[in-house]
C-alpha cells in the first residue's frame, strides 16, 4: 500500500509499517460495517430487537471462536469443529429424548467432543501429523457419524430445562445465549492471559524449541488445546439444539469458515504465538452483523454467499498481512 508511494519520507513510512493494523482492523471493520448497515438499512437494522438477535445468533460462533483461538495460538488448526457441532447436538438431543434428562444429554454431547478432541490431539502429538490433515480427516469422518446416527432425520428436543439452559432461557431478562457468550469470552480471556497454561500455549506457538527446553509439557498442552476446541464446538452444538428445539446433521456445516474468519480478523495469528480473545468476540459479532445485514438487504442466498466470501477475504487480508522481518 504505502510502499507504492516512492516519495514517502522515511519517518512516515516507518510509522506506517509499525502501526499494527492487525490489532485494530476488527474494530475499524466493525464500526464501518455497522455504520454502513445503519445508514443503508436504517430502522430495519438499527433496532434493539435486531441488534440483540445478532448477539444471540452468534453465540455458538463466539463459543467456537474461543476454542479456536487456543488452537491457533499453539500454531495448530482445528477444521473438525463444524462436524463436532452436528454430532454433539444430535447426541445430546437423542440422549435427552431417550432419558428426558438434561444433564445426561449435555454430558453426552460434551463427551463426544472430548473424544474427537482426544483423537485429534493424539494424531497431532503422538503420531506427529500436521493438524491440518488430522482435523480434515476427522471433519469428514465425524460428519459421516452425524449422518449415520441420525439417519439424516432431525431429532426434536422437548425437554424444557435443556431448551431453557441452552437456548431460550433468560436470567434477569438477559437472554441466556448472551450470557453463554460472555462467560465463554471471560473464561477464555482469563485462561489465555492470566494462567500458566495460557502462557504455555502462547510459548509453544511462538518457539516450540524454547518451550520444550524450558520444561513446558508440549504434548500435554497441545492435546488439551485440541480437546478444549472440540468441547467448545460441542457446547456450540448444544446451544444450537436448545435454540432450535432440535438437532440435525446439517448444523454447523457452514460455521468453520465463519469461525476461522472471526478469529483471524480478531487478530489471532495463523502461525501461533499470538491469541486475541476479545478480538475473536468482535470478529464473530462482525460476522453475525454481516449475515444479518445481507439478509435484511434482501440478497438471495447465493448473493449472500458471494458477498460474505468477498468481505471475509478483504478483512482477512487486512488483518493477516504478516510483517516481513
Amino acid at each position: 500500500m504505502s510502499e507504492a508511494g516512492v516519495a514517502t519520507p522515511a519517518v512516515g513510512r516507518l510509522r506506517w509499517r509499525t502501526f499494527n493494523w492487525r490489532e485494530y482492523v476488527v474494530y475499524i471493520g466493525f464500526v464501518l460495517v455497522f455504520l454502513f448497515f445503519a445508514i443503508y438499512l436504517g430502522e430495519n437494522f438499527l433496532n434493539w430487537t435486531n441488534l440483540s438477535n445478532i448477539v444471540i445468533q452468534t453465540a455458538p460462533i463466539t463459543v467456537m471462536a474461543v476454542g479456536l483461538v487456543f488452537v491457533l495460538s499453539t500454531g495448530e488448526i482445528d477444521l473438525s469443529i463444524g462436524s463436532v457441532v452436528a454430532v454433539s447436538a444430535l447426541t445430546g438431543a437423542t440422549v435427552v429424548r431417550d432419558t428426558d434428562s438434561m444433564i445426561l444429554g449435555a454430558a453426552a454431547g460434551l463427551a463426544v467432543g472430548a473424544i474427537v478432541g482426544l483423537v485429534n490431539g493424539f494424531f497431532v502429538t503422538i503420531v506427529r501429523l500436521p493438524s491440518f490433515l488430522v482435523t480434515l480427516a476427522t471433519m469428514g469422518a465425524v460428519a459421516g457419524v452425524a449422518r449415520q446416527i441420525s439417519n439424516l432425520q432431525s431429532v426434536p428436543v422437548t425437554n424444557d430445562s435443556f431448551v431453557g439452559l441452552f437456548g431460550s432461557g433468560n436470567v434477569f431478562g438477559i437472554p441466556g445465549l448472551i450470557i453463554w457468550s460472555v462467560v465463554a469470552i471471560a473464561i477464555g480471556y482469563l485462561v489465555l492471559k492470566q494462567t500458566r497454561y495460557g502462557a504455555h500455549v502462547l510459548a509453544i506457538g511462538d518457539n516450540v524449541g524454547a518451550a520444550r527446553v524450558s520444561g513446558i509439557k508440549v504434548t500435554r498442552v497441545k492435546i488439551m488445546v485440541m480437546v478444549g476446541s472440540a468441547m467448545c464446538a460441542s457446547l456450540a452444538g448444544l446451544l444450537y439444539a436448545g435454540r432450535l428445539h432440535g438437532a440435525r446433521y446439517t448444523l454447523g456445516e457452514a460455521d468453520l469458515m465463519t469461525v476461522i474468519a472471526a478469529v483471524i480478523v480478531g487478530g489471532t495469528s495463523l502461525f501461533g504465538g499470538k491469541g486475541a480473545i476479545v478480538g475473536a468476540l468482535m470478529g464473530s459479532l462482525l460476522m453475525g452483523m454481516l449475515n444479518n445485514g445481507l439478509i435484511l438487504a434482501n440478497l438471495s442466498v447465493s448473493q449472500q454467499m458471494i458477498a460474505r466470501g468477498v468481505i471475509i477475504l478483504i478483512a482477512v487480508s487486512l488483518s493477516l498481512r504478516e510483517k516481513r522481518s
Partner: protein
C-alpha cells in the same frame, strides 16, 4: 579491554567438589563416533572454554551435559553425584542451565515472561499469573547485572541481538544452581554486545557457578576463561590453564600441527 577482569582469575573456588565432571564420555551416532573417551572437570567459580574445529564434537558434548543427547558410555557427575538426564528440562531441574546460540526465547512475550518461562509465578487460589512480581524480580535482576533494556515489560522482539543474549544469560544466571553451559553465546554479536555478554559471563564466575563455554573466538577464550580444553575429531587433545599457555600452542592443538 577487560584487562582488570583477566587479572581477577586468581579467585580461589572451593576445589573439593567439581561442579561438573565427565568421565570416559563416548558418543556414537550410528556408525559415527562423535566423542571418544572424554574427561573434564569444571570447578565451581571456574570458566572452562571448549575449543576445536568445526565438527570436532563441541556441541555434541554440550548437548550430552544438557540432557539433549544421552552418552553412549561414560559418567556425568554434578557436584560429585552421578547424574543422568532424561531430557533437557530434566537437566534443567537438576541445576544445569544452557544458553543456546539460537536464543531459546519466546519473541512475542515480554522479558519477564521469558525469565520465568516454564516456571511462572502465580498467586491466589485461582493460581493466576503474578505478572507484577515477575516483572519486578526481573527488573531487579537485570538492574543488578547492569543489563540495559528499555524495561522488563518490553517484548523480546523489540530488543537487539545483544540484549536478547544478555537476557538469556541473565536467565541462566538466575536459575543455575551449579552449572551453566554456553554454546557460542557471542557468535552472532557485535563488538560492544560481545563485551557486555562477556562481562555477564565473568559475573557468573564471581557468583560461584561453573561455566563451560564453547567458543571459536580465541581472543575471547583468553580474555575470560581460566582453563581451556581442546577437542579434535572427538578426542580430547589436552587441557591447559590459561596462565600457562598461549595462542600458538592452542592453535597447534586445534589443528593438530604440534
Amino acid at each position: 579491554m577487560n584487562s582488570e577482569q583477566i587479572g581477577t582469575t586468581a579467585t580461589v573456588p572451593d576445589r573439593s567438589v567439581a561442579a561438573l565432571s565427565l568421565k570416559g564420555i563416548r558418543k556414537q551416532f550410528g556408525g559415527v563416533v562423535a566423542i571418544e573417551r572424554f574427561d573434564l572437570e569444571v570447578q565451581p567459580g571456574e570458566i572452562v572454554a571448549l575449543v576445536g574445529d568445526n565438527g570436532a564434537g563441541k556441541s555434541t558434548l554440550v548437548k550430552m551435559v544438557s540432557g539433549v543427547y544421552q552418552p553412549t558410555e561414560g559418567e556425568i557427575l554434578l557436584n560429585g553425584r552421578p547424574a543422568s538426564f532424561r531430557d533437557a528440562s530434566d537437566a534443567r531441574r537438576q541445576g544445569v542451565e544452557v544458553v543456546y546460540q539460537d536464543l531459546a526465547l519466546v519473541d512475542s512475550q515480554p522479558v519477564y515472561m521469558n525469565m520465568f518461562l516454564g516456571r511462572e509465578l502465580t498467586r491466589g487460589p485461582l493460581r493466576l499469573l503474578d505478572r507484577r512480581r515477575m516483572a519486578r524480580e526481573t527488573q531487579e535482576l537485570v538492574d543488578n547485572l547492569d543489563v540495559r533494556i528499555p524495561s522488563a515489560k518490553a517484548t523480546i522482539r523489540e530488543l537487539s541481538g545483544g540484549q536478547r543474549q544478555a537476557i538469556a544469560i541473565c536467565r541462566a544466571t538466575h536459575w543455575a544452581s551449579s552449572l551453566v553451559l554456553m554454546d557460542e553465546p557471542t557468535a552472532a554479536l557485535g563488538v560492544a554486545e560481545t563485551a557486555k555478554v562477556e562481562e555477564l559471563i565473568v559475573r557468573l564466575r564471581e557468583r560461584g557457578a561453573g561455566v563451560l563455554i564453547v567458543s571459536h573466538n580465541l581472543d575471547q577464550v583468553f580474555r575470560i576463561s581460566d582453563r581451556v580444553a581442546v577437542l579434535r575429531r572427538g578426542k580430547q587433545v589436552g587441557v591447559r590453564s590459561i596462565a600457562e599457555t598461549n595462542r600458538n600452542e592452542i592453535v597447534a592443538m586445534i589443528t593438530g600441527a604440534a
